[in-house]
Subunit: 503 residues, 2 copies
Amino acid sequence: MYNVIILSVLFLFSAHNVWAKMFDYNMERANLLAEESDLQVGGNLRLTDEENRANEILMHYKNEEVDESFHNPKHFNFSRHYFAYKNDIGNSKVYQIIRRMPKGAALHVHSSLMLSADRLLELTYEDHLYVCSADDNLKLHFSYSVPQRPCPFKWQLLSELRNSTENLQAFDDKLKSHFTMYSDDEKDYTGDINYVWKRFNKVAETINDLIAYRPAREKFFYEALREFYNDKVMYIEVRSGLKILYELNGTEYDRMYLPRLYHRVAKRFKEDYPDFIGIKLIVSKYRATGINQVLDTINIARRIKEELPDVFAGFDLVGQEDLGKPLLDFLPILSEAKKDMNFYFHGGETNWFGTVSDENLVDAILLGSKRIGHGYALIKHPSLMAAVRNRDIAIEVNVVSNVVLSLVCDVRNHPLATYLALGMPLVLSSDDPGAWGADPLSTDYYIAFVGVASKKADLRMLKQLVINSIRYSALDNKGKFDMIRQLHRQWNAFVRDIIRIFG
Amino acid sequence: MYNVIILSVLFLFSAHNVWAKMFDYNMERANLLAEESDLQVGGNLRLTDEENRANEILMHYKNEEVDESFHNPKHFNFSRHYFAYKNDIGNSKVYQIIRRMPKGAALHVHSSLMLSADRLLELTYEDHLYVCSADDNLKLHFSYSVPQRPCPFKWQLLSELRNSTENLQAFDDKLKSHFTMYSDDEKDYTGDINYVWKRFNKVAETINDLIAYRPAREKFFYEALREFYNDKVMYIEVRSGLKILYELNGTEYDRMYLPRLYHRVAKRFKEDYPDFIGIKLIVSKYRATGINQVLDTINIARRIKEELPDVFAGFDLVGQEDLGKPLLDFLPILSEAKKDMNFYFHGGETNWFGTVSDENLVDAILLGSKRIGHGYALIKHPSLMAAVRNRDIAIEVNVVSNVVLSLVCDVRNHPLATYLALGMPLVLSSDDPGAWGADPLSTDYYIAFVGVASKKADLRMLKQLVINSIRYSALDNKGKFDMIRQLHRQWNAFVRDIIRIFG
């Protein structure tokens, strides 16, 4: 604007044609860039004076961070794998600000991979935990007596092993390494996508072993909610495969038990932290399975919806999309289920183009999916992009997940950059933050904001993304309204904090 | 279409509502995908019966190649760095077909990096070549007597060194390694972007040393034309920085000499290969230089345009975009030059977003650039995308270059996928194929076709890209018309060849 005034003055006082031409050029240039600035996510938010002051502080640090790297790409973290710079993130002032930002909702997280490896390790200090360790594989089982599950070597009490170790730290570190994909050894994370997914599935299996024990699951979920809450997440939509839980004496619960447990723990958590809004459940089923198994899960979803209508959000199919079955394979039962429930389908979590994986996007859209998980491949499908925009279907983007699970390395190549620029309906989430040592939501926001979005993207983009997380949630209108009102208070405090602490 | 008929029949014979719904669903699904299929580059070309037969053969091999990898990403070459699979490409039937395809024009190549390392090595067998080798740096100079240029160690006659070596093969291999970035050692090519560009600039310097000698340059350019011709490229627009050439006795030519030499050699080549169309020159200047140096080059460009109007195409600024100066810095002289000449600017050859590098795209467009070199960052700029489409400015995409020069590793993340899907004005080129051992154009076509484009993209896309290379060239209308006519003949022979050889 200031530039425009100067140029106008120059124009008025100069009879020279060159100036007039330069004026036209600069006007056209400014208009093109302004058009893009308006179009982007958050582009038409107007900030208050106080927000503007906070924004200046935020952008000062962001520019410093980007400028430092612009001529020195060796140190531009976001061109490398997330694990290569994971431990440096804490030093960033932008990150420290984002940590404090109220984030509204996390809408794409898988329940059993919500919790950090450190907290998971604490759960291994519970009594009666047996371990079966063979060939770098770890099975875990809580039991009064030696578990009946097969073990290639032998089941041992973890407490006994731990007591007899000479180096407790090394023992616990080794144990913890089974709960995370994080590694400082590059060869662990630069393999092909199938290798990486195998590592991922192994971590998920070990964790699921640990938390299949009912009391462990209760502690696990309470701690997970606390980690999200501490990261300023007030509401979570949790995808869960409804695993079977058991007690020490071997009693097993049916698949309705876990949703009730989540409901109960979330209620208790809300009593302890009254400004926490709550959780909803997206029932999910492994996509590589048979049609009858999917139908069974849909039927359980119907029961949950009836018994816990406030908790139930909808249904999804999950797992490595390229190796799983496409939505099209389940079309008859999904078309039927559509009458009873909302869908939140994964779609296009793939690098392929013109295959059944990326064409899951068509079916997610046509089946009326309320949001689309990942939508990584959407950028290659202009008609589907238009449909997603017109139907206001939010894309749930999980940047760190897409790096760790081998879709992209330099995050500047992530399609999120274009989705942000186009002002697409969009929410940021974290998928499985516990599985790779990321914050519940801050890490994803930070990397998206500094690594993916335009250098010029500012507080307005962050604010819009937070608003989107509420807008595109499964909350009813009253729920959304209440949450926005609460966010408003938290946001104002956050803005004052930026000025007070970082100004 | 076949599916639609079956569904119609089912619809007519079934009174059941579910069938009707399924029919609607499948119609909508098919329509969405057909809309995308029509929109893509080549989407509204109609093939002849013969082309359809050839297309079936081509797609049989393409599908085989992609399907083989779909469930086995470890072996999907295009997810890895080009150097990791470079030597396997020859085995692909799709590649063998593309090798035979008439490719029309190569519109984005830098003159001194057009020729393969093998041919460059042959030039080192010329008499009177001195070498100065120190610290893995190589200087080369043709001279009757020891060159006067400084050398940290000492100038030696290459022929004497070669004659005294015990292992000629090892000697030549070592020498050749200075003419290419190709390496089978991963650490040579997985460094940060600045490291990679340093390696690239070193290769370019060594080659420029070798071909600054007038007779070497003549042979070099003739051989380069032959390599392009053998790769079925009939017309080339060559970017040249108009380096100074010299003779054995030390005589140096002025900067007008090189364009005359290119003109002369191309004319001779056309006499030897009458179906070769010819070359045009895009005068280029290093973008990290001063305004006066750029102005000097623009003035030489004006002289070339006057003296060799058929050869002169236009002007460009080149070099690593992030470290160079933006177009905006040269605005006054470029606005002036615009009256005299066409621009073919590099723009957005960067992973950055919201910086001076990607915003070069704005100025390339507003300065009326006829085409845009790379345009890698364009995908993040919706208003500029629209402008490029509306003004029909072709993007010159060089996929292999973008891999080697560290913009992207898994080419499925290359924005070309989206440009193709959107039917953007687009040409494929190869930038500096000699510097990384790629074919003049086939490698780029092959990787774009199998690695980047939709699995479903077929002969129509290839044909449209070839047509585009003529349509967006600097040829006048008559030149384009003649070339299209010639292409038509070659294309028909190619189509028959596919059926005859690969059917």
